[in-house]
């Protein structure tokens, strides 16, 4: 039984060998193997020795990630912007009611997860939620101080970050994670703030969210569609090496 990220083979017998290869493509130059060649002291315990092998990065994979959807929520939970990049059959069958329910679910989940992570984080770090990974996909999250949350759904294909040279050892790991944080931060500061907040029509209390079928336009409400936010967002996401 092979799982995508880790494979543990137990070659049996007393003092058997555990071979745990963690081939996360985020840092392919880490190789862990556990060897128990020393006599076991107590029953039920294995002597573990982890070998850390650092090999030079000789190859780069061009495995593409897929961005599924992006949602932007304000601090009260209202959806300010949402866009689907991949649609499946089951989604086409969902009506507007279910879609907005799902979005509320996402917001509630982000809120509760942040509380959870906050209580588990050690002292000295201000808690923040960066990403949540499930078997089906990963949710990357960026929250501003004003409470605006940007949530980006991608699939789980690990991405070879295209940073030159010095991304080695622990650095490579951290860079691939923060590349999503920097991307989301860029979406906020360069695209959202520039296109939406600085628009002369912007009214923060009165944002028109995506209307359901039968567009009812309330006069006087600020509609995100009247800015070129979506255009710029699509441009930016498509320019990322990891976009579809």
């Amino acid at each position: 039984r092979v799982t995508p990220l880790s494979r543990i083979q137990h070659r049996g017998g007393a003092g058997g060998t555990y071979l745990a290869q963690q081939r996360q493509l985020n840092y392919p130059h880490f190789f862990f193997s556990t060897v128990s060649h020393l006599p076991q002291k107590t029953p039920g315990s294995t002597r573990l020795e982890l070998q850390l092998v650092v090999t030079p990065r000789q190859f780069s994979l061009a495995v593409k990630m897929t961005v599924h959807a992006i949602h932007i929520f304000d601090r009260k939970g209202k959806t300010l912007f949402t866009k689907r990049y991949t649609t499946t059959k089951q989604q086409l069958m969902q009506d507007a009611e279910q879609v907005s329910e799902q979005r509320k679910l996402i917001f509630g989940m982000l809120f509760s997860l942040r509380e959870l992570v906050g209580s588990l984080t050690p002292e000295g770090e201000s808690p923040a939620l960066h990403s949540v990974k499930t078997g089906a996909g990963t949710l990357h999250c960026y929250e501003t101080i004003s409470g605006l949350r940007i949530a980006l759904y991608t699939n789980n294909n690990p991405v070879m970050n295209t940073l030159p040279g010095g991304a080695r050892a622990a650095g490579g790991e951290i860079n691939s994670k923060t590349s999503f944080q920097t991307a989301l931060k860029h979406i906020y500061s360069e695209i959202w703030v520039e296109c939406v907040v600085r628009s002369p029509l912007y009214r923060p209390e009165d944002i028109q969210v995506d209307p359901p079928e039968g567009r009812v336009k309330f006069p006087g409400r600020f509609d995100i569609k009247c800015t070129n936010f979506e255009l710029k967002l699509d441009e930016y996401l498509k320019s990322m090496p990891w976009f579809l």
Binding site: A20, L116, V132, Y153
Partner: protein
């Protein structure tokens, strides 16, 4: 003329790991959402009261399932590659990484650690093995009840000890 003397490279020594490495907590949630074990694994783990642990356990149990519901693309049958229900596998925050292993029977093993700790997945699987060796084979242990097996907790402690202190050699 400078006589350069080349010594053979020194034997590998146990140097402290260059990155922050620390396991924080282990907690195990049964299939109804109740907490059956919580254990601090290192000195940097924050102190959490028992009531709050129970709350964390049940909150995580629900969020685990909700995360699978909320994704735009779902796995077929909602089962992941191991045959267990899909759900949260990993959460990353600033200063913490949380990994969860859900078994087919619905038990969730959750391990939190500082970022940069290597081998969290392997340790998590090893803890599952220890659970099945020490807790499940204990004739007095009732399923889904809080784990009170000293053998299990001792084995977990010594596993973490080996991983953190004794086992890392840099080449």
């Amino acid at each position: 003329m400078v006589a350069a003397s080349f010594h053979s490279p020194p034997p590998p020594t146990h140097r402290p790991p260059p990155f922050e490495m620390g396991f924080l907590h282990l907690f195990i949630v049964n299939k109804s959402g109740g907490l059956i074990l919580h254990r601090p694994l290192g000195p940097t783990a924050p102190k959490i009261s028992t009531n709050e642990w129970l709350r964390i356990g049940s909150t995580f149990h629900s969020l685990h399932a909700i995360a699978a519901e909320a994704t735009p693309v779902k796995l077929p049958g909602n089962k992941n590659s191991a045959g267990a229900d899909d759900g949260i596998e990993q959460i990353e925050g600033r200063g913490i990484i949380l990994k969860c292993l859900q078994t087919r029977t619905g038990i969730k093993f959750v391990l939190t650690a500082e970022p940069g700790t290597p081998g969290i997945d392997a340790v998590l699987r090893e803890i599952y093995v220890l659970y099945s060796d020490c807790a499940l084979k204990d004739p007095f242990y009732e399923l889904e009840m809080p784990i009170r097996c000293e053998l299990f907790t001792n084995a977990v402690d010594s596993l973490i000890d080996q991983v953190v202190n004794g086992g890392v050699m840099m080449r």
